[in-house]
């Protein structure tokens, strides 16, 4: 069992190691950096929880080639992203644009935060109101008498 586990681990490591070895040569460090940021920011259409840099699927390899080619042609980051979005849709962007279909995505968290704040304020004011009037919690004379009677009974 242990050996099986170890070999599975090794297999996983070797897959990871071979995942993103491409032999691209860049003219400058800045261009290499642009290539790196673009492939990390764009999502692989086939294996959807990986970016183009990480994925080992054939389509990701093609897209890496394509991005490299466009960088060599001197296209801007924006042109490259637009080129891919025109073919694969906004889906390929890990940083989605702001448009009516993504409003919920961008502003949803703030909406949830606002709801949370409202709930907190509601709970706090409710508690505070309860604390402000301790007399409401005090016993009435009749109750006090009954309590004394009960205590007396318990302790003969």
């Amino acid at each position: 069992m242990k050996r099986l586990f170890a070999s599975l681990c090794l297999l996983a490591c070797s897959l990871m190691a071979s995942a993103a070895i491409d032999t691209y040569t860049f003219d400058s460090e800045a261009e290499r950096e642009r290539y790196r940021s673009l492939t990390e920011e764009l999502r692989c259409p086939k294996c959807q929880n990986q970016n183009i840099a990480d994925s080992n699927s054939p389509i990701a390899m093609d897209l890496r080639d394509e991005i490299y080619r466009m960088l060599q042609e001197g296209r801007s980051n924006e042109q490259i992203v637009d080129y891919l979005v025109a073919r694969y849709g906004d889906f390929v962007r890990y940083r989605p644009p702001l448009n009516p279909t993504t409003f919920l995505l961008w502003y949803g968290p703030f909406g949830l935060l606002a709801i949370g704040l409202v709930v907190v304020v509601f709970i706090v004011t409710k508690r505070r109101r309860a604390n402000v009037s301790p007399s409401a919690q005090a016993l009435s004379p009749a109750e006090r008498e009954r309590l004394a009677a009960l205590l007396d009974k318990k302790d003969p």
Binding site: K46, Q48, D62, A86, R87, Y88, G89, F91
Partner: protein, 172 residues
């Protein structure tokens, strides 16, 4: 207190809906746009090059396939059947070995009217293809109207594609 019940119901509705969603299905960015321009050779030897102009005139299915694609083999008999019923189907042989593709079409029957050979995947890239099989539905003006990712079987054809195709044929 009804709040926990309400939260549970809301979450349950979302999770239930999630059971029937296919996360690997991407909406195509090309719906409503013209079929991308291309000039590519035919899979078959001795036939002239094919361009986007050859796709015009009739509504058609454009099927992206390859001999390396296991699911395409499952889909192939369905395409043969549709072709025999008169449905216009064009094939894009995507990133494939042309000799193997010729053998495939000879051995398993050829349902395609045009056999576009996209060896380096350039047309596939312009179409936003990310696997195979993928099938585009184009109208007689060459506008892409629908895209189906995955194997077209009888059920998919009947429920999803046939009504659209029929409407376009009637429209023409």
């Amino acid at each position: 207190m009804l709040l926990p019940l309400a939260i549970f119901l809301i979450v349950a509705v979302f999770l239930y809906r999630g059971l029937f969603l296919n996360p690997s299905e991407l909406p195509s960015a090309l719906i409503g746009k013209p079929f991308p321009a291309f000039t590519l050779p035919s899979v078959k030897a001795g036939e002239p090059a094919i361009t986007q102009a050859d796709l015009l005139g009739k509504p058609a299915l454009v099927n992206v396939w390859g001999t390396w694609c296991v699911a395409c083999k499952v889909e192939h008999p369905v395409l043969n059947k549709l072709a025999s019923q008169g449905v216009v189907i064009h094939g894009i042989n995507y990133k494939d070995d042309t000799a193997a593709a010729r053998d495939w079409l000879r051995d398993f029957h050829d349902p395609y009217q045009l056999n576009i050979s996209d060896v380096d995947g350039s047309l596939g890239l312009d179409l936003g293809v990310y696997g195979a099989p993928e099938t585009f539905l184009i109208d007689h003006n060459g506008i892409i109207r629908h895209k189906y990712v995955g194997v077209i079987d009888e059920r998919v054809w009947q429920q999803e594609i046939a009504p659209l195709y029929q409407a376009m044929v009637d429209d023409q």
